[in-house]
């Protein structure tokens, strides 16, 4: 197992390299010149030249790329053209917000989605099943920005129960940064004000983000379980006189986990790259907004760094899922691989 994990982690290196090359290539082909944006159209042409030299943009793109890779190996992601701060510091500020939102949304979508899927599968074509399926359809079909605004209008403007956006109240300084996740830092440092405020701020964007995923998880759970319900060993279990709950949880759900897990892993990987629309509607300072702002400003160091982080997280999520396969299904083993699975 360890050998397998190490091998997968090593595979990450060429993946990242390919990612960096790809992003550099696209940036080079895309129209626009960051220097014009930085100095503005009214600037003295000498300024453009100076800026190009300062940022190394006067060099051929392969030299720029090699310089970047050289710095990357030394752990230097460069300085953002826009904020003037090291890119790593910016990501350090934006990534935890995304991680916090993702974990919460994922938790919500797995718990609710699996539950709804199981209910649907156990009583197929009944009222419960139909209503879950309609709800799932709604979840997939509802535009995120519309749902987000609707919730803000209801819970913030009309009822006044929840804050209208942001990560923490304006009167509440963020808790001392340990993990960067406000809930955990608030808990660890005993800062209850920060904990409470950030929890309230998390509810709406977390739900909106989870809403579409709940539907996906529910649908795949249902489909996956229905494929197993009719199998002989399930019938045998029932014939043996086992309680239905036991049949469902031990015989069916346990065997239906693999496709659910695959999808959850994929969802987690995607969400960790940031959810732009949700972040914009709820003023959430996450990676999606950071990436879009950087792209609009052609802030290439920030864009490449974002690509690296997003690729790494996605690959790691896939690895975690693959490892969990073995844990969920003992028939899967990575130690005896001789060239097959992997």
């Amino acid at each position: 197992m360890t050998a397998y994990i190490v091998r997968r982690l090593l595979l990450l290196i060429p993946t990242l390299l390919a990612g960096v090359l790809l992003v550099f290539g696209i940036m080079h082909l895309a129209p626009g010149d960051p220097v014009l944006l930085l100095a503005g159209p009214e600037a003295d042409p000498r300024i453009y030249e100076e800026l190009r030299q300062e940022w190394g943009l006067d060099k051929p793109v392969y030299i720029q790329c090699l310089t970047y890779l050289g710095n990357l190996v030394r752990g230097d992601l460069g300085v953002s053209l826009v904020t003037g701060r090291p890119v790593i510091a910016d990501i350090g500020a934006y990534l935890p917000a995304t991680v916090e939102l993702t974990i919460f949304a994922l938790f919500l979508s797995v718990v609710v989605g699996v539950l709804a899927g199981v209910l649907s599968a156990v009583r197929p074509n009944t009222l419960v099943d139909h209503s879950t399926r309609v709800a799932s359809l709604l979840g997939v079909a509802t535009p995120v920005f519309w749902l987000g605004l609707l919730l803000i209008i209801l819970f913030h403007l009309r009822l006044g129960w929840l804050p209208g956006g942001g990560r923490i109240g304006i009167d509440v300084p963020p808790p001392r940064a340990i993990t960067g996740l406000y809930l955990i830092d608030g808990l660890v440092t005993g800062n209850w004000t920060a904990l409470g405020s950030s929890a309230l701020h998390l509810l709406m964007p977390g739900f909106v983000l989870a809403f579409a995923q709940i539907a996906r998880v529910a649908r795949i759970t249902r489909a996956s379980m229905l494929g197993i319900v009719g199998l002989d060993y399930v019938k045998a279990g029932k014939a043996k006189g086992l309680k239905e709950s036991k049949v469902v949880s031990r015989y069916i759900l346990r065997n239906a986990w693999i496709p659910i897990l695959t999808m959850v892993g994929e969802v987690a990987g995607t969400l960790l790259g940031g959810a732009v629309v949700t972040e914009v509607v709820f003023s959430w300072p996450g990676m999606g907004r950071y990436a879009v702002d950087s792209i609009m400003a052609l802030d290439y160091k920030a864009i490449v760094a974002f690509a690296i982080i997003a690729t790494t997280l996605y690959a790691l999520m896939n690895l975690v899922v693959d490892v969990m396969y073995a844990w969920v299904d003992p028939r899967i083993s990575y130690s005896r691989v001789s060239g097959g699975a992997g």
Binding site: A30, L37, Y48, D90, A93, G166, S197, F282, P285, Y290
Partner: protein
């Protein structure tokens, strides 16, 4: 066990709810929402656009200040004098002013800030950067500082009024400087320390910038800059326009900027909310690539200016939220002449001009613009396409990212373009140099934006305008240049864009102008 767990949950929820709505620790709070902070928002001496003045003018003071009419006021400098040839400028500073960290303001601190601008390589302060490299700054005595410039610069005072010439605390810079970063550029991209009416309190990237009242502010200048009237100012980053409007309605924010025309219309009818407009020297116009056929033909340009019904655009698309233009000089700018006739919408005349120009059947061209600069351009481009179809011009529409549009314009790789021009200074010299003057030998990339076939006297007058000071004389000069430019239809000015702000109606005294941007120090709340 189960019961106690449930009890604990209920307790936790009620405690968090109570804490979240705990009253603010500040007596008066002003919350202001904007879509983003933009480029290098916090450090006066690093690059970035004039949008940064909103923050910089609150935290930093400059030597001299000016209002929108160009009147100069002493700020940190109590008086000044220039040598006859404008190469030596001596400033006498006010005594007793301290920075937010307690460092006293003196001549050495002023020299330090101007050295930092050159050292850090700020790309927006080109004038001083190129001048400053060969010039010297002398600390005459504790409160007297003398600039010895390498060449005459009569407009030195109108240059140093910008917030990017703000004076920073040398102690704070030195404390956070490293060998790799001698001017503490990294520290000051998330911190601030000046002498202004507000001082830095908290910066959470992507979320907010919090400033608090500087209780020891030296007082400022009556009507120009004053001590803060609110205890705390929170600049919240709210990227979505609809969310900004909702937060204003719920009272979570007090002032909101950058709302589209339709949302402004809705908010104006909500009780408790008012919408105010501030006429800045910003305008939208249709540009020609004047270096290229057929747009190098004056008659073609005139035809286009008569083929577009600008009033229809102003009334139907902009719903009257903008002002008409009588030339390139906007309302409030030197050279503005509201008696000048605007190009009339006259399709027959336009057709005749096209025929005279040798294009009776028209031609094909492309119109570029960037939605991110102005959302209304999307609709206006379609209207212009229809208007020009009337005189036989087949327009292809191409919406671009702003960066791509800029690149195309600077490489003269376009036909027609919709642009907004934002004056960072309010002075006409910038606009006329850019639009009316013929191509500069130094400005290689900017040919497309200039008047290729301008008569020689135009360049001389534009140059002359930068060396004179007398406002009456400059009014005549720029009004004349504007006549010449409009007659040749060097571009089609569409409308002036006053900046709208929606705010709670208990907000008093909010002012927004070219140089100072938001004067939050004048704002109070009932």
């Amino acid at each position: 066990m189960k019961r106690s767990a449930r009890m604990a949950l209920v307790l936790l929820l009620s405690v968090t709810t109570a804490l979240a709505f705990v009253a603010s620790a500040y007596a008066t709070d002003l919350v202001y929402a904007r879509p983003s902070l933009g480029t290098k928002f916090l450090d006066p001496h690093q690059g970035g656009n004039s949008g940064r003045y909103q923050n910089l003018n609150l935290v930093y003071d400059t030597l001299v200040f000016s209002d929108d009419n160009g009147t100069l006021y002493p700020l940190l400098a109590e008086r000044w004098e220039a040598s006859e040839d404008y190469t030596e400028w001596t400033f006498r500073l006010r005594s007793g002013i301290v920075f937010h960290d307690g460092t006293p303001l003196n001549a050495a601190a002023v020299k330090f800030s101007f050295d930092r601008i050159v050292g850090i390589g700020n790309h927006t302060v080109a004038q001083w950067r190129f001048l400053g490299k060969d010039s010297t700054i002398e600390v005459v005595d504790n409160l007297t500082v003398r600039f010895k410039l390498s060449k005459p610069f009569p407009l030195f005072l109108t240059e140093v009024v910008y917030a990017c010439y703000g004076i920073i605390s040398p102690t704070a810079v030195q404390q956070h400087a490293t060998s790799a970063d001698p001017w503490a550029a990294e520290y000051f991209s998330s911190n601030e320390c000046g002498t202004g009416p507000f001082q830095f309190s908290e910066f959470v990237p992507g979320e907010r910038l919090v400033l608090v009242k500087n209780p020891k502010y030296w007082g400022g200048v009556e009507g120009v800059k004053s001590a803060a009237k609110v205890d705390r100012l929170v600049m919240r980053i709210v990227p979505d326009a609809t969310t900004r409007a909702i937060l204003l309605q719920s009272g979570e924010v007090d002032i909101v900027e950058q709302l589209p025309v339709d949302l402004l219309g809705q908010l104006a009818t909500v009780p408790g909310i008012k919408v105010e407009y501030f006429p800045l020297q910003n305008f939208a116009s249709l540009h020609f690539n004047g270096g290229k056929a057929p747009f190098n033909n004056e008659k073609v340009r005139q035809a286009i200016s008569h083929a577009i019904d600008i009033d229809a655009i102003i009334n139907e698309v902009e719903k009257g939220h903008v002002l008409p233009m009588y030339g390139l000089a906007t309302q409030g700018m030197i050279g503005h002449d509201p008696t000048r006739a605007r190009p009339m919408y006259d399709v027959a005349l336009a057709k005749r001009l096209m025929a005279e120009a040798g294009y009776p059947n028209g031609f094909s061209a492309t119109l570029i613009w960037a939605t991110e600069r102005r959302a209304e351009f999307d609709l206006e481009a379609v209207l212009i396409q229809e208007y020009l179809a009337e005189i036989g011009i087949k327009l292809t529409l191409q919406s671009l990212a702003y960066s791509a549009q800029l690149e195309k314009q600077l490489n003269a790789d376009f036909d027609l373009s919709l642009m907004t021009f934002t004056s960072g200074t309010g002075d006409p010299s910038q606009i006329f140099d850019k639009y009316i003057a013929p191509p500069h030998p130094a400005a290689v990339g900017q040919y497309s934006m200039r008047w290729e076939a301008a008569p020689p006297f135009v360049a001389e007058l534009v140059e002359y305008g930068m060396t004179i000071w007398d406002p009456a004389m400059r009014q005549h000069l720029y009004a004349f240049l504007d006549d010449v430019g409009m007659a040749a239809a060097v571009s089609v000015p569409l409308y002036q864009i006053p900046v709208p702000f929606a705010m709670r109606d208990n907000v008093r005294g909010f002012i927004y102008d070219t140089l100072r941007r938001s004067c939050f120090y004048f704002v109070s709340k009932d």
